[in-house]
Symmetry: C2
Subunit: 377 residues, 2 copies
């Protein structure tokens, strides 16, 4: 039992810093090899030391999911910020304020109405926003289909309205539903091909479209070529999680985020160990529910981080986790007494992290650092 | 469109203060009529103005799910605090520190080992903790069965160790799986009967057991008599939510918490409206998934709060909500244009609230107040 961990009250969100660094290196080297910039999505960590490590490894700019993240990054000196959610008109004043302070914030739209709202607001305030157009490459959420006539109409509305069309972007979110390498490679190629094609259509219409931005962790780690792509966005690779493990893009020992918890009781006849990491700690994310292996609310490990095969968090109330061992253990209470500690690997690092005000980062010397993270909008 | 709401950036968690007050009154009057004290569980709101309203209406003491909540309540002058999760030995120093400051904090255990850890720590620090024993009334989580010999053993260990046995407590959490009044009444009676019986068993062993504490919102609102019970704990009644509505203990118009969101896009061929309230706003809670009506990630209402029949949040990414109308609408984009606003009623008020640093409370005059809430442990 390491002393620093033993001094922490539970539940806490632990980051294995050495593993996080390996995850960052792996993605950065892959993007370097494929010849594209990496613009990490910081919605996973919302945490400055993590973002700093990504930038130090070679990332260029950041992707954010909220303007609060953008403000936080800019306050720390990161000025190339892409807010990658179609902007609500009501958020344009905050986006303008950031740009007026010197932040190179770019925004997103996927409709003529959205583009027109940006243009109208910009013209009222004598601003020239940098705008991306979202492409739908797999039908999973937002974006314009490549064959949609609105694609050129949006580009033209932005251009004629005086905006700078930064480029096209897409996110192959349906990659989360796959778990075979061939299928992932095929989706990565579809993501690339459709987004590059969208840029070509805009260029064929006589408009500039300098950038092609794609990405999701599974496709970024599966793509065989990224010809025509200028940058990749990916987020969860920094920590990985059980969903990514099920998809097949990381090994079990590559998960860098876990929740440290304490045993607070047992229900021996049911084979249950009760802990203080319920859904408030793990989140309600059940992302592995329909994957090849359902991990319940998380995979149980020893305090040192070794998997206890078959042991899962099978139930969760607000501040109670219920662990079931894969094989019944007559000595369950002796093996996991009240006060003993376990680590739980989460289904989804983005959702579990959000439950905590801070990460507790374990460095290679075994020291623990408190890393604050953003909460809210 | 009310001006104050229109000035809010989205997503925000709105509290309808008048409705919250009605919910508080309803539960308090019910407990007054049944002749028991109400000790609200503040894990739902984690928010001082809400707790203050509960106390003003007649609540006596609070129930908390974390020691952070206990510290927060005590700092605000609430000293009768029951930490209703079996205490991890590692949390005893923090509990002691609170008691030394004058907080009348009581703690919980459901095992001889847990009781012994409390006694050992207390004796080392010359403290007399007030301790409750948890009873399992429905097999849903923690607690000792009434017929378990450990019940008297725990009571004796505490008593002989010099602790003050405050009483027995139980929580009929399986009430969340019911939706018929007769079944709820039967479970409420089972909760009462078993907890009262546990107290009698301890008293028959010659030990004092002054209190009998039971409760869950569904059973508290269904119980026909509470003879032998001294206090009821309930939490989610303060806001109610879609899970409670499915159970049948509140009407559709009694939900006091909603999430205000903005339309940011459409996928017309799929019948999707895209909003800025994804799972980061709604939480990943899918508590209605196995109930009589599955509300997806939430029921969609107009900005004013009127239900749009059949409109549900059927999908959620981190910052994207996907709304599907029950009946296809050819004029979907015209009815819900980009920039228009909607309110979403959540499955589970405790989980949705936790996603936000603050509530935005709408008073009867239409003014909005920012109410901060706790995050983390």
């Amino acid at each position: 039992m390491s002393t620093p961990i033993a001094s922490l009250d539970t539940p806490v969100a632990l980051v294995d810093v050495a593993q996080m660094q390996r995850n960052i290196q792996r993605m950065q080297q892959r993007m370097d090899t494929l010849g594209v910039r990496l613009r990490p999505h910081i919605k996973t960590s919302k945490c400055l030391p993590v973002i700093t490590a990504q930038m130090a490894a070679g990332a260029r700019g950041v992707t954010v999911s909220t303007l609060k993240e953008a403000e936080h990054c800019f306050a720390q000196g990161i000025s190339d910020v892409f807010y990658a959610v179609a902007i609500a008109p009501g958020k344009l004043p905050a986006a303008l304020a950031l740009r007026r302070k010197g932040c190179n914030l770019s925004v997103l739209t996927d409709s003529v109405a959205g583009a027109q709202a940006i243009v109208d607001f910009a013209q009222q305030h004598d601003e020239r926003f940098e705008v991306w157009i979202e492409i739908d490459c797999d039908g999973h959420r937002s974006g314009l289909a490549v064959e949609d006539n609105a694609l050129v109409a949006v580009a033209r509305a932005l251009s004629e309205g005086g905006m700078q069309l930064r480029g096209v972007m897409t996110h192959a979110g349906s990659s989360y539903e796959l778990d075979r390498l061939e299928a992932l490679q095929a989706l990565a190629e579809q993501e690339r091909l459709l987004c590059v094609r969208a840029a070509e259509i805009i260029r064929e219409a006589g408009l500039a479209c300098p950038e092609v931005s794609i990405g999701s962790t599974p496709t970024a780690l599966s793509a065989l070529n990224l010809d025509g792509v200028t940058e990749v966005r990916a987020g969860v690779y920094v920590f990985f999680d059980l969903v990514m493990h099920n998809i097949g893009v990381c090994r079990a020992d590559e998960l860098a985020l876990s929740v440290l918890t304490t045993v607070i009781g047992h229900q021996q006849d049911k084979g249950w160990i009760i802990t203080d990491a319920g859904w408030m700690a793990m989140s309600r994310d059940r992302g592995t529910q329909r994957q090849r292996q359902d991990f319940g609310y998380g995979q149980v490990c020893t305090e040192a981080g070794d998997w206890i095969e078959g042991a899962l968090v099978t139930g969760a109330n607000q501040e109670h986790g219920i662990i079931t061992l894969g094989t019944p253990s007559a000595d369950m209470v002796g093996r996991f007494p009240i006060g003993s500690r376990l680590r739980i690997l989460p289904n989804h690092a983005c959702a579990t992290g959000a439950q905590f005000p801070d990460y507790h980062a374990l460095d290679v010397e075994g020291a623990v650092h408190t890393w604050s993270r953003l909460h809210g909008w």
